[in-house]
């Protein structure tokens, strides 16, 4: 199928958008043109800050007040073009019916106090697409088409009773119920685990095949683009860097920037070899944890040697984060023991618990949210030293500067605050802050999951370098098999609250465990294209 003969369903011409901040206007989209033809899936690729979400918001009239559309027209099918810089656009006619939209965090995209059926009801009735008595049949038909085994129950549920993947499929059904000409999906799978991700992408492909649905897929993930799109547009700093058929662009990139993105992805860290006979730093055995009736940890055993990098792989909800919280003492397990250097730590209080902080540090997924926005990088890294009463003032500052430098934060950036820094820089600061107390173990809870591919590779390389230099152990928690495979000495596969497999990182792909194979297959399919 060549998309050339198909009619154009959406055309954007000369889109120019600027953000006003503190009286300074910053251009985020510069003279951008875009064309979607009927029945194609076009991937809009770019790193965070490249302006890809701004495009989606600009053509749906959802930009925040601080953004200003300076120029640009939107043409739907063969209708007269709409001037986006004017304020008289009748968006109620366009949004939903002509342009459907999916968001990254589907759970938040649904009203928490309304049942799913109410969402369908208000949309369908408002657009006069169904009589009141037809709403439920239409909705359940759509839901069952989107792989829901029990649409009736889903319709009676509230969003918080559904998983992230289910919410995204509900959002998809909601969008489709209005039969939009174009579906704009803004990072629809980035917040999902591998299995749900694959399911949503497969659905998009099926919709294209069965109904000729046109999709604009906004993503930072090359694997996602490769798996489903016909064409790729690469966006860089608000300009179109490169575009073409997916196979052409991803196999034979013309622009250096695209090549860089591809390299970041295929980058493999050197395999790690650990000398045998190292001392055990941490030993956890038979950890149990319940929340109400739900049993989250069901007998987890884990041992970490000095300098070892242990990966914990699992889908969302398998208990990985609870495990991390137990290991750091943020949460008290209901049963089992956690020993650091042979000393039991469960139930420690006061000064002894603070001593534990010195040994175990944690880095979180959302680096920006884990840093106080009012403090400079240098102040942030001194925080734990002050809390643990380590060193004098001068000494603390020198230590902080040293670790920031090691984490790749330049002297100039050390005096900036999180809002003025990139997400990658924030994660570097978070890592420096964790390392400044010289812990024996660093726990990274999805520490690279929210980062762009290239930044992700940088951070992983940084962690590996620091691990060699300072000799601490790392527990890396992730749902991303690709991240762990190249990074960890040992990977523990976690499923429903216990480890179902423990294997060296390099040989995980030879696993015979059924669950591991499922995960591997999903990841493999994504690589190869669905």
């Amino acid at each position: 199928m060549t998309s050339r003969e198909k009619e154009v369903v959406l055309r954007v011409d000369g889109l120019q958008v600027a953000y006003r901040q503190n009286g300074i206007s910053k251009v985020v989209l510069n003279d951008l043109d875009l064309e979607l033809r009927s029945g194609e899936i076009v991937a809009l690729l770019g790193e965070s800050g490249s302006g890809k979400s701004t495009i989606a918001k600009a053509i749906t009239g959802l930009l925040p007040p601080s953004a200003q559309i300076q120029e640009g027209t939107l043409q739907l099918a063969s209708e007269p073009p709409i001037h986006l810089n004017r304020k008289d656009t009748d968006w109620e006619r366009i949004r939903g019916r002509r342009l459907g939209m999916l968001f990254q965090d589907a759970r938040l995209a649904l009203n928490p106090v309304l049942k799913i059926k109410e969402h369908f009801r208000e949309s369908l009735l408002f657009h006069r697409l169904a009589a009141p008595q037809d709403v439920l049949p239409i909705a359940s038909a759509l839901l069952s088409k989107l792989n829901f085994a029990d649409p009736g129950r889903v319709l009676e549920s509230y969003p918080f009773q559904l998983s992230g993947g289910m919410c995204q499929r509900v959002c998809l059904a909601l969008s489709l119920s209005l039969q939009p000409a174009v579906l704009i999906a803004d990072e629809p799978t980035s917040a999902l685990d591998t299995v749900s991700q694959r399911e949503v992408l497969e659905l998009l492909l099926r919709l294209q095949a069965e109904q000729g649905q046109t999709v604009l897929l906004i993503t930072h993930d090359l694997a996602v683009a490769k798996a489903v799109s016909n064409r790729v547009l690469v966006l860089r700093e608000g300009r179109m860097e490169e575009q073409g058929l997916t196979s052409d662009v991803l196999l034979r990139p013309k622009s250096a920037y695209t090549r860089q993105l591809l390299d970041a992805r295929s980058h493999r860290l050197k395999p790690l070899v650990l000398k045998p006979g190292r001392a055990i730093v941490l030993e956890a055995s038979q950890l149990h944890k319940h929340y109400g009736r739900a049993s989250v940890l069901q007998g987890v055993d884990l041992s970490v040697a000095e300098g070892e990098i242990v990966g914990i792989l699992g889908e969302s909800g398998c208990g990985k984060s609870t495990l991390a919280r137990c290991l750091t003492g943020l949460e008290r397990p209901d049963g089992g023991s956690i020993r650091y250097h042979g000393k039991e730590t469960i139930g420690l209080r006061g000064r002894q618990k603070r001593e534990l902080c010195k040994q175990v540090q944690m880095v979180f997924q959302d680096a920006r949210a884990s840093l106080n926005p009012g403090r400079t990088a240098l102040q942030l890294v001194q925080e734990p030293l002050r809390y643990l009463k380590l060193g004098g003032r001068k000494e603390r500052e020198a230590m902080a500067a040293y670790y920031l430098h090691e984490a790749g934060i330049t002297d100039e950036a050390q005096h900036r605050r999180p809002p003025q820094l990139s997400t990658g820089q924030c994660q570097r600061i978070a890592i420096a802050r964790a390392l400044v107390v010289q812990p024996d173990i660093l726990i990274c809870d999805e520490a690279v999951s929210a980062l762009d591919m290239s930044v992700q590779a940088q951070i992983l390389k940084l962690l590996q370098r620091l691990n060699r230099r300072f000799g601490f152990s790392i527990i890396m928690i992730s749902h991303d098999i690709r991240v762990l495979q190249s990074f960890c000495h040992v990977i523990a596969v976690m499923h429903q609250g216990h480890f179902c497999e423990l294997k060296p990182g390099a040989s995980l792909h030879t696993s015979e465990e059924a669950y591991t194979q499922t995960l591997l297959r999903c990841a493999g399919d994504m690589e190869a294209g669905l």
């Binding site: 939903g96 909601l174 209005l178 109400g292």
Partner: protein
Amino acid sequence: MVYVLVRKLLAAVLTLFCATLILFVLTRLSPGDPVKVLLGRSAEVAMSDTAAYQQKADELRSQWGLDQSVTDQYLRWVTGLLKLDLGNSMHTGRPVSTEIAERLPATALLAVAALLLQLVLGLVFGALSAISAGKWSDHVIRWICVALASIPVFVIGLVFLLWFAVRLGVYEISSEASLSRLWLPAVTLGLIGAPQIIRVVRANMLAELGQLYVQSALARGLALRLIIRQVMRSTLLPVLTMASLSLAALISGAVVVESIFAWPGIGKYALDSILLKDYPVIQGYAFVMVTAVILINLLTEAVYSILDPRIRRKGVATSESTA
């Protein structure tokens, strides 16, 4: 659900018990002797004839049980409470419960009317302010709020009385509790309390309008007015908290307004009793107020769980299996 309800009720009973202890002790600790107040002017007589005065005082003391130990007095009062008997007033000799029951409806009527006005003003102007955030109408509303919140209630009350009753003559000055006399004190209390609710509505609505689900509803082409109706529901939760606090404050703290407008409510009665050191009345009044506040809070929590399903079904997640 039943378990939660039972737990809440037990907690309420425990709170009530603690409250009886505290308010009993506080009444006894406060300076002054009720018997001396009771004997009143005859104190002059007392100066001339100490023995007669002392005998009279002792009689009164034993009549009201004040000669017994504090523990005995407390126990007697609490056993009375269990039988729904608040005791008799030391001054009128009538049952406290009857006296309170006579005055409570007037206060409740005033409080409810004022609260309704506060809510209407709060929701309408709060929503208006949020929707037009940053525009002139928002600024005007916020300035008026600051102004209203800065004026003491007795100033507004007296000014209103001067205007409406004296100058315009549209408000009848008397000490009757009638519907025709309700509006002015209600408006006064409503205006005083509205700014708080306006502020809460505005802040919460702005936060709610920034949520992704609002964007997503807009992206489905829904009209803003429809979405605002949905947002209102989420905004109602914190407003409810404010309203319940406000209602408690209105019932127990309407003293000033009741005095200004000569509204025969419970506030004035309580004030007089405190000055007279009428122990049974003070204790009875405080007990009724504590009960009212606890009941209002219980009711609020119940409405909370109706408005927000997450509170109702906390922690119950479905695991729908997918094909």
